[in-house]
């Protein structure tokens, strides 16, 4: 990196070094890309991360176990529920307790609703980055409604702080279930409408097809997770393959990139996998809302007020909207974690950009960044 910045630009081949960020409308947060371009064609783009580093992992080592929960919201503010969930599961494993079934169901319901909301932002901003403004507004309109329901559930629209070690904070409000089911009826009609509006638009397909193709091998070797991994044709979803919480009780498909518009693993595949996942999430929420009545009313396991797990280490993995999110927590027997580490999908997604950006156009870099659905605070933490 230093070398690149200090290196004299060779003026004979008309190469230009462009700072794509940190303030740029398409970096979705504060990220910088150092782009070497020759006219419109890039030689490579080097991500320069760290602008949003807030030492969240270090904070986790000084706040004590229950006190860290609100901070996990700030790891990924677009889909904070999964950061809550991963941390709660990690500490529950340390304490060797398990959340009661109703809490598991509530975690699945809130999580899948937030997954829909997060994917709506992802596909919406992607269409905006490609130059179509209207689909984004339609996506955000639906997301607002989900935010309303989540607010009714836990009092917050963005930073939920809904999970607790050993359960969740609140049970379903009265009438919530029917309202959400009615919303899902509308939402299932919205998805085909969204497809008609933008997904199958010829210009949109041409902009994304065969652009920044990530092969199956590349995706695995760079540690891509979630929709980015599945977009490259790897059939892997933690909810199905390493089930946790209430997920074994639900029926759902795992959409995998098939090269709908061009090669398997291009930007369109990563985009469309998210569209299909929203449909599956809607299915999961429906099933969970229909069966939640059969669970006992308890939403919290017995957890001591002063959380003081035995010395040991655990790893918890959950399928976040941005892919696998892992918490590695080491306890030394005190009421504070000895080491807390979170592994997020956006950070690993950044590393592949330098490798596949050579030969792309500047406009394709925008498509690539948004197709990876990176969220700046999740990269830096």
């Amino acid at each position: 990196m230093e070398k690149l910045i200090l290196r004299r630009v060779d003026r004979n081949n008309e190469e230009m070094v462009l700072n794509f960020g940190p303030q740029h409308p398409s970096t979705h947060g504060v990220i910088n890309f150092i782009v070497e371009t020759d006219g419109e064609v890039m030689k490579r783009a080097i991500p320069d991360v760290g602008y949003l580093h807030r030492s969240i992992e270090k904070i986790g080592e000084v706040t004590g176990y229950p006190g860290f929960m609100p901070f996990t919201d700030r790891i990924d503010y677009v889909a904070a529920m999964f950061a809550n969930e991963g941390y709660a599961i990690a500490v529950e494993k340390l304490l060797k307790v398990e959340a009661p079934p109703r809490a598991q169901w509530l975690r699945a319901i809130s999580g899948e609703l937030v997954r829909i909301a997060s994917h709506l932002v992802a596909v919406g901003t992607m269409t905006m980055d490609i130059g179509a403004f209207t689909p984004m507004v339609h996506g955000l309109r639906e997301r607002e409604e989900i935010n309303d329901y989540i607010e009714a559930l836990c009092g917050a629209r963005l930073t939920y702080n809904y999970h607790r070690i050993g359960g969740v904070a609140f049970d379903l409000p009265e009438g919530w279930r029917d309202k959400v089911l009615a919303f899902l009826d509308r939402f299932d009609k919205f998805l085909p409408e969204f497809d008609r509006l933008i997904t199958f638009n010829e210009i949109y397909k041409k902009r994304l097809a065969n652009v920044a193709t990530i092969t199956r091998e590349q995706a695995i070797s760079y540690g891509l997770v979630g929709p980015n991994l599945r977009g490259s044709g790897v059939d892997w979803d933690l909810r199905r393959d390493m089930p946790y919480g209430a997920y074994p009780s639900f029926q759902f498909e795992v959409p995998v990139g098939k090269g709908w518009a061009g090669a398997v693993g291009d930007c369109f595949d990563r985009y469309y996998v998210r569209c299909l996942e929203m449909k599956e999430s809607s299915r999961i929420v429906r099933q969970a809302l229909e069966t939640i009545g059969q669970t006992p009313e308890d939403i919290m396991a017995k957890v001591p007020r002063n959380v003081k797990p035995e010395a040991g280490e655990v790893l918890s993995r959950v399928e976040s909207a941005r892919g696998e999110m892992a918490y590695y927590v080491v306890s030394d027997g005190t009421n504070k974690a000895y080491r807390l580490r979170s592994r997020t999908g956006s950070f690993t997604a950044m590393s592949i950009i330098e490798d596949i950006s050579g030969g792309l156009m500047v406009a394709d870099l925008v498509a690539l960044i948004s197709s990876l659905d990176v969220v700046a605070p999740e990269i830096d933490r």
């Binding site: 269409t127 179509a132 403004f133 209207t134 009609k189 041409k206 925008v366």
Partner: protein, 455 residues
């Protein structure tokens, strides 16, 4: 319960005021253009000098000055017309786009936010006028002049009605094509002089785009020129009839294709989506506009939206019969004029009707441009070049040759022109019907309903 505080002032007064201005603006603007365009001719000025001032216009030394005053007033009104049209276009576009996007849109200043453009203009005028330290100051300042000149000069040859045109140049459309190119000079200067990499990218893209698309646009323009046999804007309109089956776009199948090519090329030339690459927000931040502020920025903004009106008006002139009023032939205008120095009232009525027809057609084409902006994603720079050189340029050449052959055929068998007009008009109506049907079906499939209640 929270108490709802109503905005200060009487909503009914606000609504009435807005309606009054919204109705008065076009009347005043179109009226002033109509009156001044009629008066700014040598004969009425000579009559005025002889009858009112009591001098012999041939020998009185100040006749030229009187003419210059009337011409200057006309120029002033036409520039105002351009500015207000651009501003109202912005308002209309924002209202339409907010309907498309389930948002409310402008609603603060005036009823329906109609006066938002005044507030925006005042705000932009009061902003700090910033020139980047490393910018080329002279070129940076010069760029908006070029852009505005390219915009304002088009109005010289733009027809508003049967006799309402500043100057019916015999090379009208050629002149318009030429002065439009001034805009790209301004954009290129803006991109270069800002001394910003984003602006440079935008300027280069704009230069590549506008110069490439001038070629298919120029070739497509040849089709109506060949059919009319003149370059004059009024001549092209007079060669068409008032009814749809008499418009150039339908009387010649090649002209229909030429219109599509011309329309796409015009979108690209005025940097409208899906060809807004020079200022692509998500790629180039704001492209060539990145370093501009205040009044200079306002000029670029005005020209961009004013061009929507201009490109619609040119398309209407060349392909959709311009101001031709159904059932009113060229002889009717002549007969209504009378023999006096000033035309008879009936003639003024016909002029107003022709302006109204022209306005409605232009407005419909303008809506199409707005719909396209808010539904299409942006194409990439290489795809933009591909589209131009691989499809539009050969296509425009083909329509050009086909029109030559068609004109020979029409000269031998005049009826083919009418047959083509009627057949293509019916086809267009069927396509329109199908579009409405699809729209209705899609609205119903989304569990929605057509609702215009909260305009």
């Amino acid at each position: 319960m929270a108490t709802v505080t109503l905005p200060k002032g009487n909503p009914r007064t606000k609504l009435l005021l807005t309606l009054a201005v919204a109705l008065a603006l076009p009347v005043i603007l179109f009226g002033a253009v109509l009156v001044l365009a009629t008066l700014a001719k040598p004969e009425p000025v000579q009559v005025f000098v002889r009858e009112v001032l009591g001098h012999d216009p041939a020998t009185w030394p100040y006749t030229g000055l009187v003419f210059a005053v009337v011409a200057a007033a006309l120029t002033f009104m036409i520039l105002n017309f351009g500015a207000v049209v651009a501003a109202v276009t912005i308002w209309w576009e924002m209202r339409v786009s907010s309907r498309m996007q389930s948002r409310i849109g402008y609603n603060r200043v005036g009823a329906g936010g109609f006066f938002q453009w005044i507030a925006d203009a005042v705000k932009l005028l009061l902003k700090e006028d910033l020139i980047p330290a490393e910018a080329d100051r002279v070129l940076f300042r010069a760029a908006p002049y070029f852009v505005f000149a390219g915009f304002g000069l088009i109005f010289v040859a733009l027809p508003f009605g049967e006799s309402v045109i500043a100057a019916d140049l015999n090379v009208g459309i050629y002149y318009i094509t030429a002065v439009t190119a001034l805009v790209v000079v301004g954009i290129l200067l803006a991109g270069w002089s800002s001394n910003s990499k984003w602006a440079l990218f935008g300027g280069m893209r704009s230069a590549a785009q506008v110069i490439s698309y001038e070629i298919p646009a120029g070739l497509a323009v040849m089709v109506p020129i060949l059919m009319a046999g003149t370059l004059s804007m009024q001549g092209i309109i007079r060669a068409q009839g008032a009814w749809p089956w008499q418009w150039f776009v339908f009387t010649n199948p090649a002209a229909l294709i030429a219109f599509v090519i011309f329309f796409i090329a015009q979108l690209a030339e005025s940097n409208r989506p899906p060809f807004d690459l020079p200022e692509a927000e998500s790629e180039l931040v704001a492209g060539y506009l990145a370093e501009y502020t205040a009044f200079r920025y306002a000029i670029f903004f005005l020209v961009e939206f004013g061009n929507v009106w201009i490109m619609s008006a040119i398309a209407v002139t060349l392909f959709f019969g311009g101001w031709q009023v159904p059932g009113v032939g060229a002889a009717a205008y002549e007969a209504a004029r009378g023999t006096g120095a000033l035309p008879a009232p009936a003639w003024w009525g016909l002029q107003v009707a022709s302006m109204a027809v022209f306005f409605v057609k232009t407005f419909l084409v303008m809506n199409l441009v707005i719909w396209i902006r808010w539904t299409f994603p942006r194409i990439r720079v290489d795809q933009m070049m591909n589209l131009c050189w691989k499809y539009l340029v050969p296509g425009a050449f083909a329509t050009f040759v086909a029109t030559l052959l068609w004109q020979i055929l029409v000269a031998r068998v005049p009826v083919v022109s009418t047959v083509s007009g009627v057949v293509l008009t019916i086809a267009a109506l069927l396509a329109l019907f199908q579009m409405l049907r699809l729209a209705k079906r899609n609205v119903e499939a989304g569990g929605d309903q057509v609702d215009l209640s909260n305009w």
